[in-house]
């Protein structure tokens, strides 16, 4: 195939398009609501198109823990995200989540204007162990259940950002919750490490939980890899500073495919994002 060589480039273009569309969408929904269009409602906690409800599985899990009760419509609403996560992994994070989008923009800014320091940090890539990763999620949920406090709601940057957009447009201004997200951005700006998405975010972790042994994955074929240098381009490309060539890439990887794109760029096919 002729453009096989630029497959990941195209895929990434689509991904960026999806990210931008999401942000525009989040602005459009409350505006449409105000002018009386009500068949589309919601934020990234839960969104609905007509009668079809879609809810964030992390929030649904939290609700179950808080109410100790299974509310069927809400469970059903979590099915679509679960199904997508099961097949494609945390693509929500890489394709939709505005927090990641903004983080990527910040990274782009750093790459461009803070070149030297950035490169130093970029080399410090490290994967995350499964136990650590889900350990954090489990702790969060445990605290939620014990203290009867909806921790996941506070700690869901996509939820907070999207609902802030809605509140702002509806004339209720911004609130302290935005500080949570800002703190993350600021901390990561100086750390130059995307610890939030890679380690801490309950939304991503919950989706990752459903992926775990699932389908779409970054696959590394050592035989194809011709890059001797360290750090290799694929590793430098990973927005989460993971090492794509190592086995324990998951559950932290959110399948953005930027490593595959970098590999493709070198003319090789050592890293593929495939089923």
């Amino acid at each position: 195939m002729k453009n096989k060589r630029s497959f990941y480039l195209t895929l990434n273009r689509l991904r960026v398009l999806s990210q931008i569309t999401t942000i525009l969408f989040l602005i459009a929904v409350p505006l449409l609501n105000i002018v009386g269009v009500h068949w589309i409602l919601g934020t990234l906690y839960s969104i609905s198109f007509g009668k079809l409800d879609i809810a964030d599985p992390a929030i649904v899990a939290q609700t179950i823990l808080l109410t100790w009760n299974l509310y069927i419509p809400l469970l059903i609403a979590a099915l679509i995200p679960i199904l997508i996560a099961f097949i494609c992994g945390r693509v929500f994070c890489s394709w939709i989540c505005p927090h990641n989008t903004i983080s990527e923009w910040i990274t782009a800014f750093q790459k461009r204007f803070m070149t030297k320091r950035w490169r130093q940090y970029q080399k410090k890539s490290k994967n995350v162990g499964i136990r650590v990763y889900f350990g954090i999620l489990a702790t969060l949920l445990l605290v939620t259940a014990l203290f009867k406090t909806p921790l996941v709601s506070y700690l869901s940057p996509p939820g907070v950002i999207s609902s802030q957009i809605s509140q702002l447009i509806r004339g209720s201004g911004i609130g302290l919750e935005l500080a949570i997200v800002l703190l993350i951005f600021i901390a990561e700006f100086f750390l130059f490490q995307r610890y939030w998405c890679k380690l801490l975010c309950p939304v991503g972790a919950m989706l990752g939980a459903f992926h775990w042994k699932g389908k779409l994955r970054v696959q590394f074929q050592a035989a194809e890899c011709k890059c001797g240098k360290r750090p290799s381009p694929c590793q430098m490309a990973c927005p989460l500073q993971l090492e794509p060539k190592k086995k324990n890439l998951y559950p932290a990887c959110f399948n953005c495919g930027l490593c595959a794109k970098a590999c493709e760029n070198t003319g090789h096919k050592a890293i593929q994002l495939t089923f």
């Binding site: 409602l41 906690y45 109410t67 809400l74 609403a77 909806p150 509140q167």
Partner: protein, 176 residues
């Protein structure tokens, strides 16, 4: 131990009782159920529902109605779209809404001062039932039928608003 921690925590984080949108389940359950999706606020054409910011503490993200600014006009759009069951999806009759209860402070209410005022009575959506006029003058609330929508509170022209809504959470006999 954990229990007492929990209660201390909720004492710190919770200070106010809020008027919730129509169909809201009892407060504790409501807080747990509501997934903070903002849909109820977005669907409300009157902008009656505001979503609490984190500034309000633990209840962050949940919907409230400040009846004195914008009350609920009982259009019954919000209960049916709530994805979490925090608002009762089956609630469609505005007469059945019980968000709270209007209470009149007779030391402030104008007719009790000899001034003809019927603003609350005229605007009450459960017209002539939830508020009745004793001697065609003094407003009286009917506990059985008042929905707690707060329209009365929003129009009361007394110097200090004389009719206010006690939210469901302050009432012992919750929803019927």
């Amino acid at each position: 131990m954990i229990q007492s921690l929990t209660s201390i925590f909720s004492k710190i984080t919770k200070s106010k009782t809020y008027l919730r949108p129509p169909g809201a389940v009892p407060e504790d359950e409501f807080i747990s159920r509501c997934i903070k999706c903002s849909k109820c606020a977005q669907v409300c054409s009157y902008n009656s529902i505001k979503i609490l910011h984190l500034n309000a503490g633990k209840d962050f993200g949940t919907p409230v109605i400040e009846a004195k600014d914008i009350p609920c006009y009982l259009c019954m759009e919000c209960p049916r779209i709530c994805p979490s069951g925090a608002l009762d999806n089956a609630l469609v009759d505005k007469e059945k809404v019980r968000m709270g209860l209007a209470v009149i402070d007779e030391s402030k209410c104008l007719p009790f001062l000899g001034v003809i005022c019927r603003s609350c009575y005229d605007e009450c959506p459960i017209h002539r039932v939830a508020i009745v006029l004793e001697d065609e003058l003094l407003p009286r609330i009917d506990a059985e039928t008042c929905t707690g929508c707060g329209i009365c509170e929003s129009v009361c022209p007394a110097e200090e608003i004389a009719i206010t809504i006690k939210p469901l959470s302050q009432l012992a006999d919750k929803r019927k």
